[in-house]
Symmetry: C2
Subunit: 238 residues, 2 copies
């Protein structure tokens, strides 16, 4: 890391976010229609230039605030940084992409150039390399759903198990059985009964118990599927 006091050409740096939400049983991503070149008219991820004195996550929060109420963001984590020299036609630009999540049921106000798109039917042509970023965000979410409690960020404050299973189904892309989902999450100790019950619908049916997530911090609930440490070995931190 040799450095000189002189001028040095530096890339511009933007932060982007793939904000995902389950809407009408489909995993959707928040996209914005560009109004100017390059890629004018193309769908792109919300974001913008990194400002001095802002941390990366503060930057993306601030950029997102122009499109959506960031108080409704239940999760934000860094995804990847892309920097192919030709990813921007006119300038040398890097982009650090984030994965954001919004709980089911919220419907934030959006500016007219911004809307939700099902991830599976997202536009084939997206600005820059944003299509690949959406794919990576979806993959990251799917992986974490399987070994963490991150569903707390997709689910509303409280929910019936069948509603939670529908969220998993939408996000994972294949059916998730509520019966077994309950058992998995109960064994892991992440579910907490609220004591309330849903009222049955018009067709009748047994009322569903209402649950919430016991913690809204990310927890790795299934740390070592294989090659787990021997019985009584607490791994040293460091």
């Amino acid at each position: 890391m040799s450095e000189r006091g002189e001028e040095r050409r530096s890339p511009t740096h933007v932060t982007l976010a793939a904000v995902l939400q389950v809407r009408e049983a489909r995993l959707c991503v928040l996209l914005w229609e560009r109004g100017r070149e390059p890629f004018s008219g193309a769908w792109s991820l919300p974001g913008g230039y990194l400002e001095p004195a802002l941390a990366l996550d503060d930057s993306i929060r601030s950029q997102l605030a122009r499109k959506v109420d960031v108080a409704e963001l239940s999760w934000l984590e860094q995804l990847e940084t892309v920097g192919d020299p030709d990813r921007h036609p006119a300038e040398w630009q890097l982009a650090t992409a984030y994965l954001g999540l919004v709980p089911l049921g919220l419907d934030p106000e959006l500016p007219p150039d911004t809307s939700w798109h099902p991830v599976e039917r997202r536009p084939a042509e997206m600005a820059f390399d944003h299509r690949a970023i959406v794919r990576d965000a979806r993959e990251r979410l799917r992986a974490k759903l399987s070994y963490t409690n991150i569903a707390f960020a997709l689910a509303p404050e409280s929910f019936a198990i069948s509603e939670l299973a529908a969220i998993y189904t939408a996000a994972l892309g294949y059916p998730v059985d509520p019966t077994n989902l309950r058992r998995v999450l109960e064994r892991r100790g992440v579910l907490e009964p609220t004591g309330e019950r849903r009222t049955s619908g018009p067709g009748g049916g047994r009322p569903a118990a209402v649950y919430r997530f016991g913690s809204r911090e990310l927890e790795v609930t299934d740390p070592f599927a294989v090659l787990r440490p021997p019985a009584g070995s607490g791994r040293a931190a460091g």
Copy 2:
């Protein structure tokens, strides 16, 4: 992503790498002793300024080439990008960190300011935020050892199962039983017998069969520990 043709202050951008290797039964990281301010004399990760027209991974490869023969790098993947405004005392600087792996047994020539340090006993004071990056690299490696075939990048071309178990033990930080490791990897189909056998040591002992990894591409061998898709459902790509 509003942009203007005018000048814009941009952060400098460096690429760094936490290069890990198992040496003498310990997971080690390649560190470099800084020769100038800031953090002169402190241990730091190898890396340097991103050059225009270089992709991020090309940049870190090129920077690493100054310290170590990059042909001996068996794996390189992006880890994270850090950009706290005060991470560099003098300039506005972002850093994209990579995880690199070198197989057991290679001992690349190093310049005098560069050396291997056991990850568990790495210097308490490291330059910038490099200590946290080493920790994150180790965690990433540990996680991937459990659900992918990434051990191919830590192991030599061919090996006995007991040698491979020693590599897992060093990298994971807890004992891994060769007997069960063999079964896990054989079921996953990642091991390939070479047909050769090790000669016994001086004390005797049955000669070990020699294996290699069938693929040297990263493969997720244990994709869904839980919540797996129903029996005959191929997930759609996208």
